[in-house]
Symmetry: C2
Subunit: 360 residues, 2 copies
């Protein structure tokens, strides 16, 4: 029996994608070869790569000003690769600090150049997103970096702020989950294992004029200009992860694309937060307008009560709701592949648990 999986990433994937991936591992398109065996120089893979890049362009409404890159590794590799390409000891990058991942991005950048925090919600224990009115001056930076959705704290930028320097956004946990105007963003990146596909792959969307300013005196494996020129097939790409991501993008398009996903994601989050607010056992302390539609982070009265609820969920085949070790508590991740029905089932369990608890 298939479980209901609320993992923060690697996260659940649509059943039809898993079915198709399973078939492709045995035999890709009746070609007598597994997708895990095809050469990255073969026509079979060229087609997979081209369709993946094309679907990302279509689903994200990109235009000729944008390059799309498929990259190996995850977000942390990008934390290093971005400053290698866009920062130096003579320049500075500005950071909007919304917690652990934003802070990690800054810590990595400091190996390559100067860093400065231009806004932070640390004083508020990261329970909100800094307001644009609270930003320090944002001009003169090589770039400003922010994390659009914060998986650990459960906050999200529902509006992308305007800044006076090139804008780089870590969209690892909300890419493809909502309509975004990429004309306002110079470089966006995301690891795959939340809204795209399996772990081991990342994507980047970069404005061509920003890309042209990158540092090219770095090892080729990190050089975005070179990787763009080689159409994401310079080093051997993670072929299998790319293929499963393609299957997921096809699924996403068949659902109606990003606008449809955004509507469903709103429904899921609205329903879950309503239950958290109503249910006497659960509490969410994130400022209402900054609550994440991807990760609802909430607590109970004690760690023991939380563990008991996690156990109760597992008895009902619901897994992956334990909070991150930094914050503790509970976390429910609702990326695109998570269905409204699954969220409703969790809500049902939350109600049943409250009833049981009250009647004890």
């Amino acid at each position: 029996m298939r479980k209901i999986i609320f993992n923060a990433g690697p996260a659940t994937l649509p059943e039809v994608v898993l079915q198709q991936a399973s078939e492709g591992i045995l035999d890709l398109s009746n070609e007598g070869i597994s997708v895990a065996e095809i050469s990255h120089r073969s026509t079979l893979f060229q087609n997979i790569l081209a369709e993946t890049l094309h679907l990302l362009r279509e689903l994200l409404c990109l235009n000729h000003d944008h390059e799309v890159l498929l990259l190996q590794g995850g977000g942390r590799l990008q934390f290093a690769q971005i400053p290698m390409n866009f920062l130096s000891k003579e320049t500075a990058a500005g950071f909007i600090d919304t917690g652990y991942w934003a802070h990690q991005a800054m810590m990595y950048a400091a190996y390559y150049g100067n860093t400065n925090t231009i806004a932070s919600s640390q004083q508020k224990q990261y329970t909100c997103i800094p307001k644009a009115t609270e930003f320090k001056a944002s001009n003169g930076y090589a770039y400003i970096h922010l994390t659009s959705n914060n998986t650990i704290y459960g906050t999200q930028f529902h509006q992308i702020p305007t800044v006076d320097s090139p804008l780089i956004i870590d969209m690892s946990s909300d890419i493809l989950s909502r309509i975004i105007d990429f004309d306002k963003i110079d470089f966006a990146y995301a690891c795959a294992q939340k809204n795209i596909g399996p772990a081991g792959l990342s994507i980047a969307i970069v404005k061509k004029d920003f890309l042209a300013r990158s540092n090219t005196h770095i090892p080729p494996v990190f050089n975005y200009q070179l990787l763009a020129a080689k159409k994401s097939n310079y080093y051997t790409p993670p072929v299998l992860a790319t293929y499963i991501s393609l299957l997921n993008l096809r699924w996403l398009k068949a659902q109606g694309g990003v606008a449809t996903m955004e509507a469903i994601n709103h429904q899921k989050a609205k329903a879950l937060y309503a239950e958290i607010d109503r249910n006497s056992l659960f509490e969410n302390n994130i400022q209402a307008e900054d609550r994440s539609y991807m990760n609802a982070c909430f607590t109970m009265q004690s760690a023991e009560m939380e563990q008991a609820f996690i156990d109760f969920c597992e008895q009902h085949h619901i897994i992956g709701i334990k909070g991150h070790k930094i914050t503790g508590g509970l976390r429910v991740s609702m990326y695109n592949a998570q269905t409204l029905d699954n969220v409703q089932q969790l809500i049902h369990i939350m109600r049943a648990y409250e009833t049981n608890y009250m009647n004890k």
Copy 2:
């Protein structure tokens, strides 16, 4: 109908591994979750990771002096990561130049420190491996780097040379294919997509005393000491590629381990080279004692004849024998997952083609 695949990498995998991977994508161990969905912090993945590391230790006969690392990305990322950890502007690394990949490793290292070629077979068009007697002095280097098997030229170090500095070996294309004494090697590494599993993963075997001398003032994602301390679970590992690699290592052990593989690999290579030498249509110009057991690179009288033979093979469901674009010609890759029977079928086709040709 399943093809016979002689790809240089990503390469063929055992059918039973593909079958098990296909099942794991649908449902891992009847847990109600796909292996592509499990958290890298879950017990399920901890077990996969621990067994993978354990099997690598067992199959490679490692001892307590060695650390084993699972790393994201492929060989080129290691070309950069190795000098970040072990080279500086104040030190030099020595390189044994056996062609394209050895040269790439040196080109990457030059971004981080000084490099020097201590031996090269370039003058002989890389048709042989430099003899130890031809080496320049090898003392005083931060490390000496060599590529144990050269996929593009079809040469292989059948003896690992002794040098007077720490020894680093790129074993991407012959790891696990033969018995190696890892006590003589300070750092060995290999991308997965030839003898280990799917693309998107690499492994490293490092002596603990050498690791202790690495530079730790580098971004954590590149820091071998940190990755070892985190037991290869610092960044989100490529979970699916790791799982399929584990399935392949289990298969390898069930076949009898590396010694058995080495014997079969000798049989395959011996049979194929004998046919190349006998057959009037094919020629291999590699010095006999340096011929690779993994990749036989050979030619016909013209590129047109080679293409006609490639087409003939494809009609008989044999693919992946086109040579690398640098050298042209033909290339037959015979990593562990390639069966003797498949090589015999190719030999049969080579004979049939010669007969057809002679009777034209």
